[in-house]
Subunit: 225 residues, 2 copies
Amino acid sequence: MLKDGSYQTKLYEFANSCSPGLSLSLGSAAAMDGDVKYQQLFRKALTPSDVEKLNRLVIPKRFAEKYFPEVSKEEKVPGLIDAIQLSFFDREMESWNFRYCYWRSSQSYVFTKGWIRFVKEKKLKATDVVTFYKCECQNGAQKAFYMIDVASSVAPESNGGGFAGGFDTDAGNRLDLQLCLGQITVTESGSSDRTIKLRQQKEVAPPQPEEVQKKAVRLFGVNIS
Amino acid sequence: MLKDGSYQTKLYEFANSCSPGLSLSLGSAAAMDGDVKYQQLFRKALTPSDVEKLNRLVIPKRFAEKYFPEVSKEEKVPGLIDAIQLSFFDREMESWNFRYCYWRSSQSYVFTKGWIRFVKEKKLKATDVVTFYKCECQNGAQKAFYMIDVASSVAPESNGGGFAGGFDTDAGNRLDLQLCLGQITVTESGSSDRTIKLRQQKEVAPPQPEEVQKKAVRLFGVNIS
DNA sequence: TATTGAACCTGTTCG
DNA sequence: TCGAACAGGTTCAAT
């Protein structure tokens, strides 16, 4: 719920006024701290089928082939479908695993296994919007990770409210500002990807899996319970 | 009428299914008239479910097991349903492919994929009758091919007209005369199968794809537009 | 048995 | 206008 004149709104306005080379930084001075390349990939307004009994999410082909790892559309081994598991963190840094594959019968990319659990947990309904991100830590050869976030379609601030279908959007270089709050400061960068520099906390322990998670929490803003 | 572009494909399919023997006898100017063993298999009066939203045709079990290739009713490989594709030519020598399998849930043999297209194209409705044939060329080891024909339930000549359900019949030795017209002569054979000897046309050109198609049309009679 | 999941199918729609 | 994409279905198996 962004109120006019709030910090978040100012951040939104500021970010909007920035060039495409915008990046976000958490304002750390610690050189060892990781920059997190933070890219919104795309959004999809959920269809009734996406949240109901079909237990699958159709990933629009243009986004699937642009942003997700390749899964074969061919039948290499007859009767054997090429599928991978994609992991996503939500804003609470819970991990969600989705089976991702291509269905030749419908000629579409889908999330299958795991998707319906996400729908149930998040109480998703048709016209809700899911947003996909890709995050990469810049310091070293760390694996990239995906994030997923949901926005209720009835939230009046989120996107004007009450939008119907046709909301599938390619984020490209656009910044999803509602997620960039709190500890985040905005800096300019030369690349088209967003870079969020996590502020180093004094009490931060040496890098370990959990720490990555903590940082990532901040990445999604301040609303962590 | 054949649409441009589809002709080659259909021809190719026909040639493939008919194999060397038939095309040889049809296209040759020599005395090698091709005998075509021509057997009506069975008929079925379509039910509302056969032509409506279920997208499947139930093949009466006694006919399926008697006339069609065996598909397993068991689960040989767990999770793998035994299904085959059956190809049928209609009286216009268009090829229709139906997925044929056994549904254990309903304990019935069915055509699934492709069936509803046939229904739409032929404007089939409940109580219409479909007739299935098997055709084999006698001169050589060619593949057999199936044919399918439809008869409107309101056509007064077809079978007295206005018959209701319960029309599923085993052709056995009965000859379906409405299909044996035009250039086709019917001869008696020692077997219970019908043998139709194609009359060799004087003006037959050397083997050409188009010629194969022409003759094949004659196999189903004279009503070719 | 009910739920989830994998795969298959089709009508509609839209560029 | 026609094919690609996909929304909304199905069957069938695993659990």
